[in-house]
């Protein structure tokens, strides 16, 4: 029984040190796209406050659970992928790759309710967004 309690405590501590990050691939457009999944209203409002595009479509979404000092790679589109490293104490390091080539690495503390956004121009009057947030 005592052993089980110890084992349970150890498991709890491992879970507490891991970090879950939501990574979304978003397309921002001027015109609404029928049939596409829209991003949450919270994200849409935040992006629309900064950018000219009013419609934001979520093309893919990944939930990444990363242990302390570990790195997880996720493919968000054919060419775009990210590498997320849990640097402890809520600090994450995100590397963005396009076609296997690393474009940048952003490191910051990601708290609940905070968003890290990597973005750029896409075809026509549209833009790509990779929105990362800490999952509760």
């Amino acid at each position: 029984m005592v052993l089980l309690l110890f084992a349970g405590g150890g498991l709890a501590s491992v879970q507490a040190d891991s970090l879950t990050v939501n990574a979304r691939l978003v397309l921002g457009t001027s015109k609404e796209k029928q049939g596409s999944k829209k991003v949450s209203e919270s994200i849409r409002k935040r992006l629309a406050k900064v950018f000219k595009w009013m419609h934001y479509h979520q093309l893919s979404s990944k939930k990444l659970t990363i242990d302390d000092s570990k790195t997880v790679t996720s493919k968000l589109s054919k060419n775009a992928s990210i590498k997320v490293t849990n640097q402890k104490n809520g600090k994450v390091s995100v590397s963005l790759f396009s076609g296997g080539k690393m474009l940048l690495q952003k490191t910051q503390t990601l708290r609940s309710g905070q968003y890290m956004v990597l973005a750029g121009k896409s075809t026509g009057d549209s833009a790509w967004f990779i929105v990362l947030s800490k999952s509760n």
């Binding site: 493919k75 474009l103 790509w128």
Partner: protein, 171 residues
């Protein structure tokens, strides 16, 4: 003696610059030459006119005292100049080093002030945020919301994510 030399001699005679024998010889020649007589008369007349119209300038004191005073003044100014000219060795050394240092400092300050400052894009990036680019050719803009709830890195890098996404979905 040519004519010009003779004319100069006549001028010298009028001015009293010729010695007795020389003056006598020339006077004899003038007496025999009407042209020289005429020149001598004209020059004598001219000298008389100048002498009459020149204002007398009497010295305020005796000639010797007057020149002595000028000589003393020149000597005094010369001594004063010599006293002021050579600076003390320490001040000279300081001047030699401080002048270039001051010049370089002024130049550095000028260059610092002229450094192009980054345009104010209203971007506030917390010290917690770190950004590392692997490709210097990609331009980047960063934005952080006032409440620190959203940080954005905008890359000047185009991706056709719609097609990418479709291809990934079809794979």
């Amino acid at each position: 003696m040519n004519e010009n030399e003779i004319q100069l001699k006549v001028q010298a005679l009028v001015d009293g610059e010729l010695t007795g024998r020389e003056a006598e010889a020339l006077q004899q020649r003038i007496n025999d030459d009407a042209k020289l007589q005429h020149l001598h008369a004209k020059l004598t007349q001219m000298r008389g006119l100048i002498a009459d119209s020149e204002l007398p300038r009497p010295l305020p004191e005796s000639r010797d005292f007057y020149w002595n005073k000028i000589a003393e003044t020149i000597e005094h100014e010369k001594r004063a100049g010599e006293r002021a000219a050579p600076p003390k060795p320490v001040s000279r050394w300081l001047l030699r080093w401080l002048a270039p240092v001051a010049g370089v400092s002024a130049l550095v300050l000028l260059l610092t002030l002229q450094q192009p400052t980054a345009p104010d894009l209203g971007i506030t990036l917390n010290s917690d945020h770190e950004l590392e680019m692997s490709d210097d050719e990609i331009d980047v803009m960063t934005y952080n919301s006032d409440d620190d709830s959203m940080s954005i890195v905008w890359l000047d890098y185009s991706m056709d994510i719609q097609r990418d996404y479709m291809e990934l979905w079809l794979d």
